[in-house]
């Protein structure tokens, strides 16, 4: 496995930390979106890239986190709400994971896709029946630099966690599961535990990012925060970049956020048509993502995947 010298991430961190004073508001908010998707894609790939599971639950975790902020922001304050949002998503992931992680392939993908819809409908129903309103307003948002630094820290933490998991016994177990779950079990891996732990960890980041980003919308309702597009975009970014790497999703999250920001508002339908076509072409002709191009050219000796 290839090591990146510590200088690059350290330099990138310092550069990113200076941005609030260097960039105008518009570009700062674009950068915020980049960081959000970077965090989401890296944490998605942490579990799904290694195990070859296809989880579409990101939108559910993100929405749960956002709703924790919506409910608890006033009472708890911003940072505890972000932490609690992550923990709530992780707990939800552990619970659901225990029930459905024995399924593989299409079943797992479909169930996790349904999860977002399920939680969304449940919350809508709850609000309608007991609160008599749908959605809530966030009155006093924290300053945009506070949000920026929180999301930056979360994205960096997601990358750090991805690196730590990759180099740990857990990461080894997850890759073993991805290649052949039966073999991993025979070799003494508690696959159930490993899968639930990694699934919950990756959900923590999605939930915390949702909680941190929630204050960007002044009005929060289930269709906004449980938007399946967030989940699709995350999967797409990770797959396009190369889900078995960490750098791949990072780079492609920048490309996609910029593209989305400029094209989606102007040509919403054409943008999604192009996105769909791109997804098909990539899966057919470059299933390992763009990172596989570099694997082949520069790192022939890296462990085959």
């Amino acid at each position: 496995m290839r090591r990146i010298p510590v200088v690059y991430p350290a330099g990138a961190t310092i550069a990113l930390a200076c941005m609030p004073w260097l960039l105008p508001d518009f570009y700062l908010s674009l950068l915020l979106t980049c960081l959000m998707y970077a965090g989401l894609a890296v944490s998605w790939a942490m579990f799904c890239g290694a195990t070859n599971y296809l989880s579409l639950a990101t939108a559910a975790f993100f929405g749960i986190g956002a709703y924790v902020t919506a409910w608890g922001f006033q009472a708890l304050g911003y940072f505890p709400a972000v932490l609690l949002g992550g923990l709530a998503a992780a707990a939800f992931a552990a619970l659901v994971g225990a029930a459905v992680l024995h399924l593989r392939g299409a079943y797992f993908a479909v169930i996790t896709f349904g999860l977002g819809e399920l939680v969304r409908h449940a919350i809508t129903y709850y609000e309608k029946t007991w609160m008599h309103t749908v959605g809530r307003i966030i009155a006093e948002a924290p300053e945009s630099t506070t949000v920026y630094f929180t999301v930056l820290v979360l994205a960096l933490a997601a990358v750090a966690a991805a690196v730590a998991v990759r180099d740990s016994r857990l990461g080894l177990a997850l890759r073993g599961i991805g290649q052949d779950e039966g073999r991993a079990q025979t070799l003494g891996v508690n696959t159930r535990k490993a899968k639930i732990a990694a699934f919950a960890l990756s959900a923590f980041f999605a939930g915390a990012l949702g909680a941190a980003m929630a204050v960007r919308w002044t009005y929060i309702d289930p269709p906004t925060v449980f938007n399946p597009f967030i989940g699709f975009q995350t999967v797409l970014i990770a797959m396009v970049g190369g889900a078995h790497t960490i750098v791949g999703p990072l780079v492609s999250s920048i490309v996609f956020s910029v593209l989305t920001e400029f094209l989606r508002l102007q040509f919403p339908y054409v943008f999604l048509i192009v996105l769909g076509t791109l997804l098909i072409v990539l899966v057919l002709y470059l299933p390992g993502g763009f990172a596989s191009l570099f694997d082949k050219r520069f790192f022939r000796t890296s462990d085959a995947k």
Binding site: L103, G105, V110, I111, H121, Y125, Y269, I280, V283, L284
Partner: protein, 293 residues
Amino acid sequence: MTFWLELIAGGLITGGIYAVVAMGLNLQYGLMRVMNISHGEFLMVGAYLTWLAHTTLGASPLLSLPFVMIVLFVVGLGVYWACFRPVMKTAARTAAPVEVIEARSLLVGFGLMFFVQNAAYLAFGADLRGYSYLAEPLQLGGMRLSANRLVVFGFALAASLALLAMLRWTLVGKAVRAMMQSPTGAQLLGIDTRILHPAVFGLGLAFAGAAGALLSMVYEISPSMGEPYTVTALIVITLGGLGSAAGCLLGGLLLGLIEAFGMHLTSPSLKMLLSYAVLILVLLARPKGLFSR
């Protein structure tokens, strides 16, 4: 009493459509492990074709149904050739072909979903469309049901039974069933996947188109109408068991009934929650389907 009968009839009618939607998908997934998540999008295409034929040419929706099926069959051949044939080809060279086919075809399906849905938005706009066809109510043993819903139910049932009969008694059906039981064995006996796979994929889309054409007679249509039906189809397939066409028919009718009664006893906004609860329960208790032995 009449009220309960109407509730049962309503549930069965919805369930009949679910069965037709699910059958096409089940055939594709059972035969070649292609989980085409854009199935509902082709249902939407079928609905729009019927609507177009009715509003511009004045064609009766029932008469245009076979044409819609033929068009979607041909579209299915094209989609298979362009998108899924390469997946099957490259997957055959990997270590775990079945898993690779499942994962990649799912992603290709998502791409198709984006593509078809947004192309429809571009072509037709986001407005709800509809036309009125046989909308007058009928009295039937004390029940009041609109005529179009009965016609839809009749056609849905007929299409499902025709497919069942084809699978059971014709040579093509036997080839499909043999292929589901043992792909290698079937190939050894001279069944050609290069013909059977595209044909079955096209047949699946033709059924999606038929379901769309039927739905357009009863409900208003929009470019995003397909997605919920894809999810419902997946639930029906899980209920009925993978690759089982008869299970699909029973599962569809059962889900229609469960939804009708569940919504009556709780609240209509809980429809999705109910379906998912059923799906998760079945997956946990009987992952091979309710009717598996």
